[in-house]
Symmetry: C2
Subunit: 758 residues, 2 copies
């Protein structure tokens, strides 16, 4: 589902760079392994990485994308059963876990310009002759945004750029209100669900979202089928559920949507939109935009259509009507287990969704195929005698596109067991050519850097780690030879927001998670359209599935290494370094807001804004704001300090214990250590969650309330500052400071247990 | 002619801002005046500023723009005679000074796409029904670039973005050569004459320049006649003479183009293009661009046409044919004098050109009208008894558009006298609503700040100085309350490059110059087209001529204040501060180039560029370069140090002499001081000019060899570093350091003379 905010892993070695520097030397032990175990592990991993086969990945994709397979479609169920058969064929213990979820689908969709001229939007993606599956119109869901409410409104149109909060501040300065209006926003600038949410907060009665060719069409490159970019009638479907509040089935908050789960009535659902919303193509949007009068849009608001972008309101008046079938549909998660030989109650979970908006080759099958191939390869290893210490669970989720339904319901359904047993969740969602992109828990940063040093890049024959280091360097200024990618041993990984199936694991349950993909050389010009299909993927994306193999190799190596390690390879030094960054950032944010408010208020008092405004283009001064008070950041600093002490102690303890740990004789003691390590990530959560959104329990990472997919780190602190809630900010600093102290204690407790185990 | 690089004056007071802070207190004396003289001067200036009348400005514009009036046209001569009559009617001593100049005009123009399909460019700007003068096709020069050579070429097309040197570096990395090709560049990014110059250096055989709607059309706002922006068939005419080498009549380098001046043969002219060049509209360009294949243009290269921008070469093949009448034409400078009462041999010169590409309302009549109104107002003052101490000379230049012909030939013709007598040249070129834009000699920075504090802004009723300070503040970060516009007493003025008639005065003769305009609230969407006319100006630009009046008030006040001052009000502290900036800049430039070269070479050695390149989109590594040596900047620092000592001494001496100077009894002594002051700017010149372009004598300011209009300060040093000519750089640092020392000596000599005069 998510295509935004991919984060390419960054840093290098202090020593001069040599060809060997980016690979783990043969002699070195893998973290968490004894020397002997490390050697054995490396042999198994090497065997594993030879197994994933591009021909299989291609065959899986061809099968899984042959027909549209959204939740509730016949082919969605068919795919789930086919995947189940494969797992069983490979000898794995697999089953389908089904849930019943609310999934509204369109009954009626109308977009008409009713003044000053008339135009009726086509709302149809046409067949492309060379693309065989683009003609399956009977099975395709049309262009729509799910979890929009029903609505039938006629109102003046206003163009709101991306429709994010900053855009409404600018509208206010331009003296333009959207109260009673239908807004039209272009895709981009935030997750789509933010657009109707913010529009409704400002009094709009309807919301259109269109794909401007500047972000998503001919401006970027040749359009489909001449090239990979979105054609004029292409539409981006997608969910507009208010996921920053809570993802998952809207009728069963916090619990699994089993057949007999208690369900709230539709009227009590919190995560539907407040106004009707519909996505349209730019071919349908252009006549509406051209009919707008009013002032010329600010330069940053202008897209690539051949016209002068204007804001309105009117004279364009638009009729928007949407009505939905408010049905419950079954979804089918496919779950396969490889039981752990020695620690069956420590779980390594690997997942990717299998459902799509239409045929879904890139999203999600390019990722789901890798999961299947990892499972097949593991079954081969199992036949050769490999026995993972921990339990490995493969999950092919359903219902991700609508709002992470399958993964969320499963995680809520099995919450207690997961909190107890799940060590790591490894996610992917889609895949393309290019660079390794990793985001996740920073307790896994060092671990995943180690994995990345093992994987050959298909295009350069460097390791994917080395290629990524070069990418980071190439994107840092040419003059700064001391750039971090050269000086920091580990490349930084991104923080996770939302938009894919890791959300419930990380944010709700506090399970350390990573998301892994390759990308950066392709594009997403068919994202959530009927053209994201086998023909297009095999003509314009990872055409030979070389990066599909690299994804399977990367995620599979990570799973094996986690499943086999005597000591779970969390690292708290990189984590502490990252938290230091976040603590610095929120303090700078508060300082800058203070400085800026003082200066802006002074300018307002001086009459500066009026004085520099062209009287022919009215622009009101911004409103004066209270100068932010100084906040007491000491609790955060103290928490960080405790964390740092504990992290240093843990690292010393591991170093003292030698490479890995002494032996598996101390298995029971090590299990106790590992249990304490698993508890560290959960020590970063609070049961009552974030202010006003208790489902989000993690206190380090969350999707932004006004960004949707985009992450906010230290979210309770950062968002209360951003929203100028100073009292709340002070309270949250104390709470989060305590969380950091708790994490320090949890780490220290693990260190002490490890000390005793040796 | 020039419309690029307008520089809005910046800073403020250390004290809290009060309404009075931006005006000179009544009691304070004007710099260079005794207290008594200052009071008298202020009375005359106040009388003066009441005189300019928007109704007159409108009438002048209507008359002067009634028909096309380029060099050699009947109406050009007619306008000159009309202006002459006005000057005489106002009782001024006026005459026409005529020169005969080479001005090639089109005989034939053809642009055709000959493959893969056929298309013939229209090359015609159509009549706009509501615009009466747009239909005067018989008298309009068609769209062309003057001083292109004749040519008839058919070749593959390559899109080169703006066609500046950086673009060719990118082309080289993309593996694309323009050798034997016709390039198509969009307007913008540099002065137009750079485009064919650089294209020819890279082996192109022809050059098309088009107006992309992104820089100049619907992307910016509604197009003409619905709004002020360039319509689809609009063409930007303009000169492509190699003016960075030398402006003025190409046949008479360094001497006035009088009837009997020695003329070089056409074959020896250095400043023609090397390849044929023609400007076209985007309506004519779009079919050519759409026919290009090859790789997709880099993102920064893409304009606002509804297409995927590609680079080529081919399959588009283009036939370009241009042939010119290589005729000499007479030009008519109109020159009026008000003789100085006490110092007739010290001249204050005020100029603006009167010729246009077509009807030329904005460029140049909006500026020329102000000059006329200043002259009329002075004639009124003369009748009331005002007698300026110095001689005032009004110049209405002809032939500016082709290459600053009228002003350059006049300056060359009268070079000796000007070097001796000209104290200051004040230029304008065009005018619109908005903010004061001043560039010029920094010896006049403090002076012009003082003038700006006297002028009311028509839209805000603040002074134009205060409004500009607000503008500068508004464009500095909101958090930096210590921003320079608040902390520096004088707003900084820009440095002059080229593109208007100050060039010969400042760069060739070393006469302190300033260029003054208002702008920033309008646009230049009709620049050098048939639509820059009275209808459009009075509908979309300074419609009530309120800013025309402000320009006349500003420039006229400056002229009066300069003409009446006992002591010429140069200031060397702001000047020294500015030179310190430039010296820091060139040192940083050298340092950064060194750092960047080292890091880039390292990246090339490591294979980084190859590793981060998408193999489907070939991008070669840049070439390795020799690491720049450390340069010895001590001579510049020593020169600066000498300059600073002298400047401080001069300021102390003026302070000691009290407000202004003691009395006019010491007139002869003061004349000696003033002569020494005039000599200061000339001490900044070197007779053999800049490396490879001796005509440009000034060592602080010059148009860039590869920017054309854009200024390069400390040009000999800066450009030799930019062009990696390290030996030359070392030599030029010594030369320019000596120039700064000489300037220090000249200032010291003035200080000593002033000391003796008191």
């Amino acid at each position: 589902m998510e295509k935004l905010g991919i984060y390419f892993l960054c840093a290098t070695l202090l020593a001069p760079v040599t060809p060997a520097a980016d690979t783990a030397p043969e002699s070195a032990s893998i973290a968490g392994y004894t020397a002997t175990a490390s050697k054995t592990e490396q042999e198994w991993e090497t065997k594993f990485r030879a197994l994933p086969d591009p021909a299989n990945l291609r065959a899986y994709m061809q099968r899984l994308t042959a027909r549209p397979h959204h939740v509730g479609s016949p082919y969605d169920k068919d795919n789930a059963e086919w995947i189940l058969s494969r797992f069983r064929e490979w000898g794995l213990d697999a089953k389908i876990e089904s849930y019943d979820v609310l999934f509204p689908t369109p009954k009626e969709r109308v977009v008409e310009l009713v003044a000053p001229t008339r135009f009726t939007a086509k709302l149809q993606e046409p067949t492309v002759a060379v693309d065989p599956t683009s003609s399956q119109h009977d099975e395709q869901l049309p262009g729509f945004n799910t979890y929009s409410i029903d609505g039938d409104v006629t109102a003046p149109l206003v163009y709101v750029n991306f429709g994010v909060p900053d855009d409404y501040e600018m509208l206010e300065r331009m003296g333009i209100s959207v109260k009673g209006a239908i807004v039209i926003a272009r895709y981009g600038g935030s997750w789509r669900g933010i657009k109707p949410k913010v529009a409704a907060e400002h009094g709009a009665v309807g919301c259109l979202i269109y794909s401007d060719p500047h972000e998503d069409g001919y401006f970027r490159g040749l359009d489909y089928p001449d090239g990979p970019y979105r054609p004029k009638d292409g539409v981006q479907r997608g969910s507009v559920m208010d996921m920053p509040v809570r993802p998952g089935d809207p009728l069963t908050p916090n619990v699994g949507a089993t057949k007999d789960a208690p369900r709230i009535p539709l009227s009590q659902v919190e995560t539907l939109t407040k106004i009707p919303v519909l996505p349209i193509s730019y071919a349908d949007a252009q006549p509406l935009l051209e009919a707008l009068g009013g002032r010329v849009a600010p330069e940053a608001w202008r897209g690539a259509l051949p016209m002068t972008y204007r804001v309105g309101p009117g004279p364009a008046r638009v009729h928007l009507k949407v009505a939905f079938h408010w049905d419950q549909k079954p979804l089918y998660n496919v779950i396969a287990r490889i039981p752990g030989a020695t620690s069956p109650d420590e779980w390594i979970i690997r997942g990717n969704h299998h459902d799509a908006w239409v045929n879904g080759a890139d999203d999600p099958v390019s990722g789901a195929s890798a999961v299947l191939e990892e499972a097949r390869a593991f079954s081969v290893l199992l036949h050769q005698g490999w026995r993972p210490a921990r339990t490995i669970i493969f999950c092919l989720w359903d219902g991700e596109e609508e709002g992470l339904l399958g993964s969320t319901e499963w995680a809520e359904d099995h919450a207690d067991e997961l909190r107890q047993k799940a060590a790591v969740y490894i996610n992917s969602d889609n895949n393309n050519r290019g660079f390794l992109a990793v985001s996740g828990s920073h307790t896994l940063e060092k671990f995943i850097n180690g994995v990345a040093r093992e994987i050959p890049d298909p295009e350069t024959k460097l390791t994917v780690w080395k290629r990524l280091q070069f990418y980071r360097l190439a994107n840092s200024p040419a003059g700064s030879s001391a750039a971090e990618p050269r000086s920091r041993p580990d490349l930084r990984i991104g923080a996770l927001g939302s938009g894919s199936d890791y959300t419930a694991f990380l944010d709700h349950l506090g399970i350390a998670s990573v998301d892994i993909r390759f990308g950066g050389e392709g594009d997403d010009g068919a994202y959530h359209s009927i053209y994201d299909d086998f023909y297009r993927y095999t003509h314009f994306e990872d055409t030979d599935f070389a990066y599909g193999r690299a994804l399977a190799q990367t995620a599979g190596t990570a799973v094996m290494r986690l499943a086999d390690a005597a000591l779970l390879p969390y690292d708290f030094d990189d984590f502490t370094d990252t938290i230091r960054h976040y603590v610095d950032e929120v303090q700078k944010l508060a300082r800058d807001m203070r400085d800026q408010t003082i200066e802006r208020n002074r300018r307002i008092d001086e009459g500066l804004f009026a004085a520099v405004t062209d009287p022919r283009e009215k622009l009101l001064p911004p409103a004066k704001e209270t100068v932010p008070p100084y906040l007491n950041f000491a609790p955060l600093e103290n928490g960080l300090s405790a964390l740092q002490r504990a992290s240093e102690e843990y690292t010393r303890t591991v170093a003292k214990a030698g490479p890995g740990v002494s032996s598996r004789d101390t298995a029971a003691q090590l299990r106790a250590v590992n249990a304490k390590l698993i508890a560290v990530e959960q020590s970063l959560t609070l049961k009552d969650g974030l202010p006003n959104r208790p489902w989000f329990e993690h206190q380090i990472y969350a999707p932004g309330f006004y960004t949707g997919y985009g992450v906010k780190t230290l979210p309770a602190v950062r968002e209360s500052i951003e929203q100028r809630q100073w009292k709340l900010a002070d309270e949250q600093i104390v709470r989060v400071g305590k969380v950091l102290e708790n994490a320090g204690e949890a780490i220290q407790s693990a260190a002490q247990a490890l000390n005793q185990a040796n």
